[in-house]
Symmetry: D2
C-alpha cells in the first residue's frame, strides 16, 4: 500500500487528533501517503480529502475535537453511496481506510470491508463503550473533566450543605458515572447496568446526615434516568431537597490527557501497521495494557461491560 | 478593639477563604483576636463561633467555597434575633464584625449597625453585582471557569459544526455573560441589561454560515432568558437547530484565580483596618484599582452597572 | 486607511493571539484589510506578510504564543533597513502598523514614526513592565501559571515540611513575584525594587517554626537574585536547608485567562481605531479600567512601578 | 483485627490522600478502627498517631501531598527502634500496618514483618518504579503535570522557533520521560534505560529544520543526564543553541487525576482486605487492570522495567 485514508466519525472525543497525527506520522515513517477524509463517511462518499503531511499534523496532539470533522451520514446506509465512495478512493489511489470512532462507525467500516475495501477501526468515544478494548480514546479525558466539575460543585455543596445530583453522559454504559463517581468520592452512583434502590439511597443520605455530614453528591448516568426525575423522587419519597447539574457537552471537549494521547498514539500507529500487513476488518484495542487487534465483526456479538467491581467498591467506600 | 468576628453569607464564591485568611492574619498582625462565625447570620444569632489562629487559616488561600459555611437565615429578619446575636457577641467580647458576601448580606449588616454593632462589608459573589466596587471576589474565577467550559464546548462545536447555546449565571447582572462571551469569542451574547433582537441574531448566524463558518456559540445570562427558550425561538423563527448547555453550579466553585486571591487579601485586610479605626457601616471595594471604602447605605440607592462598552465591542468583534 | 499591518515582537505572551484577532476583526468591521507581518520587525524589513481574513483568526483566541511568530532583529537598528521595510509596506499599500509587544518593541515603533510611518503600540509581555498601562497582556496568565505551580509545590512542602525557594521571571520588575507571592500565600517575597534583609527572612522562618509551621515558601524574582544564591546564604547564615525550583519558560505559555483575553480584545480594537483616526506614535493602555492612549515617547521618560502596597501587605499577612 | 494503622513514607505523591481515605473507609466498612500514623516511620517509632474517623478523611480525595506527612527516618535502620515502634503499636492495640510509599518504604515494611508485625504495601510514587505493579499511585498525575508544562513551553518554542530541553524526574526509571514525551509529541526522549546517540539527535533536529520545522522539544530524564550537559554537547558538537527548563518539584504536587484516585481507592481498599484475611508481607498492585497482591520480598529480586515499546514508538512518530 502506498496511500491510505483516515477519517473520524460519530461523536467527537479528545485524542482523535492525536490518533490522526499518529496515523500520518507512522504512515510517513513507512513511506506511505496519508489522506485525511473530511466529515466522516460523508467525505468518503464525496471524495472530500486532502494529503496530510508531517507539518499538517504539527501542534494538534494537544487539541480536543477532530481536525477532520465528524458528521452523521444517513446516505451511507445505502450500498450505492458506499460503492461511489470506494470508487472515489480508488480513483485517488487510496487502498485502505482507518476509521476512528465508536461502534456505530465500526458498522460502517464492516459494510465497506464487505465490498472489498480494507478497513481498520480505532476506538474513540468518551463513553468507553466499544467492545474489545479496555479503554477507548477520550474516556480518560472525559472522566477528568467530570471529576474537575464535581470538585467545583463540591466546594459549593460543602459551603451550603446541600445535596447535589450531577447527570453525566453514558446512554448505555455507566463507565463515566462509575469512574468519576469513585474518583470524586460521590456518595451514590446510579448507572444503567445496575438497578437502583431508592430506599437505600435515602437511607445513605440520612446516615450521612446523622453523622453530621450535611452534603452529598449523587452521580447519575443519563442512560439510567434524568437527574430531574431522581430529584423529584427524592423529594416525594423523603422530602429531600436537591440541586441539579447536567454536565452536558463540556464532557466531550478539552485537551486530551497524557493517557489519552499515549493511547491514541499507540492505537493509531498499530492501525497503520495492520493495513500495511494486508489486514482488513480488524479493530485495534488495548487489553491488559497491550495493544492487540481483533475481528471487527466481534462488535456484533460482544457487548462492552463496565467494571462492576468499581460499583461495589464505590458503595463500600461511601459507607 | 481586641476581638472581632468574621462570617460569610449568601451564595459562596471562590476567594471567600482567602478573604477570611486575610482578616485573621491582618487581625493578628495588629494583635487582635479573630473569631470565625459559622453558617453566616445563623451562627451570629446562635453564637456558633471559634477562635481562628494563624494555623487554622493555613492552606486555605487556594480553596474554593467557604470554610465558615454559609446559609440563608430567615430569623435574621426579626430584630429580636438580631439583638440576641449582638448579645452573644458582646458576651464573647466581640466588638465588631466583618461580613463577606453580596448585597443581600450587606442589608443584614446595615441592620446590625442600626443596633449599634460595628460592621464592615467585603464584597464576594461570582455575579459581580455589588454596587460600589469594580469587582467582587469570585467574579474572575467564575469567568475563567465559564471560559474553560466554552473552550471545551467549542472543540465539539467545531468538530460537528453545530450552534451551541450556553446559559451562564447572572440573574440581574450580565457581567459573567459579557466578560466570558468576549473572552471566549462568542458570536452572540444576551444579557438582562440590553434588549435582544432575534432577527439580528439570526442574521449573524446566517452571515457566519455564508462565509463558511459552520459553528456558532451563543452565551445567554439566566436573567435574560432560559437557553431552552432561545433554542425554541431560533427553531421556530429560522429553522436553526441548536444544542444547549446550562453550566449551573460548576460556576461557583474551583480554586480562586490569582486575581481573586489578591483582591480578597487586599479587601479583607482593609476591612480589619477600618474596624480598628473605629469605623462602622462601611464597605470596602476596589475602584480604579485602588482599595477604598464607602457607606454601606450606598447600596440602597446605587445600582451596579455592567460595562456596556464590552457589549458593543463583543458585537463589533463577532462581525 | 484601507490597509494596515500587525506584528508581534519581543518575548511572546499569552493573549497576543487574542490581540491579533481583535485587530483583524475590528479592522474588518471598519472595512479595513489587515495584513499579518511574520517574525516581528524581521518580517517588516523583508515584507513577509499575508492578508488575515476573519477565518484566519478563528479558533486562536484561546491559544498561547503568537500566530505571527516573534524574533529579535538586530538589522532593525539600522535606518537603511527600516526604510527598506517602510518601502515594502508602501508597495503593498499598507499605511499603518500595530506593534504588539513590550517596551523594546515600542522603541522600534518610535523609530518608524520618525520616518513618517504610522505606528500604534499594544502592550504585551508577561513582565507587566510597560510604563503607561496598569496591566500588560499576558501578565494575568503568567501569575496564574506561577500560582498553580506554587500550589503544586506547596503540596510537597506541606507533606515533607520543607522550605522551598521558587524563582520566577522579572528582570527589572517584581510584579510577577509580588502578585503570585501574595496570591500563593508565600512567607517571603524578594523583588528587585526593594532591598531584602536576610536577618528578617531568617527570623520569619524561625518564627514560623516556633509556632509549628514547618514549611515555608519563598518567592524570588530573577532580577533580585538567583534562587541558588539565596539558598546558599540561608544555609551559611542560619543552617537552613532549602529546596529550589526555577520555574523558567512555563511562565510564558498557556491558554490566556479571561482577563487577558478581554484586555487584548479591548486594546487591540482601540489600536485600530487610533490608526483610523489618523493618530500615530501612540500606545494604548489600561488605566483605572479604562482604555486610553498616550504618546509612545512617554516610555523613554517614564518607568513602570510595581505596586509596593502589595509588598507591604504580603509582609503583614505572612506574620 | 480490630485496629490497624496506616502511614505514608518516602517522596509524596498525588493520590496518597485518596489511598488513606480508602483505607479508613474500607476499614470502617468492616468495623475496623484505622489509626493514622504521622511522619512515616518516625511516627511509627514514636507512636505519633490519631484515630481517623469518616469525617477526618472527608474532602481529601482531591488533595495532593499527604495528610499524614512523610519523612526520612534514619533511626528506623536500627532494630531497637523498630521494636520500640512495634511495642508502641501493640500498646495501642494496633495489629497491622499499611505502608503507602515506594520501594524504599517497602524495605522498611519487610523489616517489620521479620519482627512479626503484619504489613501490607501500597505503591505510591510519581516515578512508577515499584516492581510488581503496572502503575504506581501518582504517576498519572505527574505525567499530566509534565505534559501541561510542555504544552506551555511549546507555545513559546513555536513562537520563537527555538529548541527546548526539558528535564523531568526519574533517577532510575525513564517512565515519566517516556510517557510525557510521547504524549507531548517531543522530538527526542532520553532515558536512563537506553543509550542515546548524539549524532542521531543532531540529525533529527536538522531533518526537522530542513522541512521548515523550526522548533523542537527534547525531554531528558534526570537519571540519564542533566539538561545542562545535553545543552553543552549540542552546542559544542553542532552549534545548536537550546533553552533549558528543569521542571523540578512541581511534578510531585497537584490534585490527583481521576485515574490516580481510582487506583488509590482500589489499592487502598484491597490492602485492608489482605490485613483482615490475616495476610502479611504482601504488596498490592495492578496488573492487566486487575488488582492483585504479591510477596513484598519480590521487590528485592525483581526490577521495574519501563515499557520500551513506547520508546520505539516515540522515535517512529517523531520522524
Amino acid at each position: 500500500m502506498k496511500r491510505i485514508g483516515v477519517l473520524t466519525s460519530g461523536g467527537d472525543a479528545p485524542g482523535m487528533n492525536a490518533a490522526i497525527r499518529a496515523v500520518v506520522r507512522k504512515g510517513n515513517y513507512h513511506g506511505v501517503e496519508v489522506y485525511g477524509i473530511y466529515h466522516g463517511y460523508e467525505g468518503f462518499i464525496q471524495g472530500k480529502m486532502k494529503l496530510l503531511d508531517l507539518g499538517s499534523v504539527g501542534g494538534i496532539i494537544q487539541r480536543g475535537g477532530t481536525k477532520l470533522f465528524s458528521s452523521r451520514c444517513p446516505q451511507f446506509m445505502e450500498e450505492a453511496y458506499r460503492l461511489q465512495g470506494i470508487q472515489k478512493m480508488r480513483e485517488a489511489g487510496i487502498e485502505g481506510l482507518i476509521v476512528i470512532g465508536g461502534d456505530g462507525s465500526y458498522r460502517g467500516a464492516i459494510e465497506l470491508t464487505k465490498l472489498g475495501f480494507h478497513c481498520i477501526g480505532v476506538p474513540a468515544t468518551i463513553d468507553n463503550d466499544v467492545p474489545g478494548t479496555d479503554f477507548t480514546i477520550g474516556f480518560d479525558t472525559a472522566i477528568n473533566t467530570v471529576v474537575n466539575a464535581i470538585d467545583n460543585i463540591r466546594d459549593t455543596a460543602t459551603s451550603h450543605e446541600n445535596t447535589f445530583i450531577i447527570e453525566v453522559m453514558g446512554r448505555n454504559a455507566g463507565d463515566i458515572a462509575l469512574w468519576s463517581g469513585l474518583a470524586a468520592g460521590a456518595e451514590t452512583v446510579i448507572i444503567p447496568e445496575e438497578p437502583y434502590d431508592l430506599d437505600e439511597i435515602v437511607e445513605r443520605l440520612k446516615r450521612g446526615e446523622s453523622r453530621k455530614k450535611k452534603y452529598s453528591i449523587i452521580i447519575v448516568a443519563e442512560g439510567a434516568m434524568p437527574a430531574s426525575k431522581l430529584a423529584e423522587m427524592l423529594k416525594e419519597k423523603a422530602g429531600i431537597e436537591t440541586r441539579i447539574t447536567v454536565l452536558g457537552h463540556i464532557q466531550r471537549g478539552g485537551s486530551p490527557t497524557a493517557f489519552d494521547r499515549v493511547l491514541a498514539s499507540r492505537l493509531g500507529a498499530r492501525a497503520v501497521e495492520l493495513l500495511l500487513e494486508g489486514k482488513t476488518r480488524r479493530a485495534v484495542g488495548i487489553k491488559n495494557y497491550q495493544v492487540y487487534d481483533y475481528d471487527l465483526m466481534d462488535i456484533m456479538t460482544t457487548k462492552h461491560k463496565a467494571d462492576i467491581s468499581l460499583y461495589t467498591l464505590s458503595k463500600e467506600l461511601s459507607i
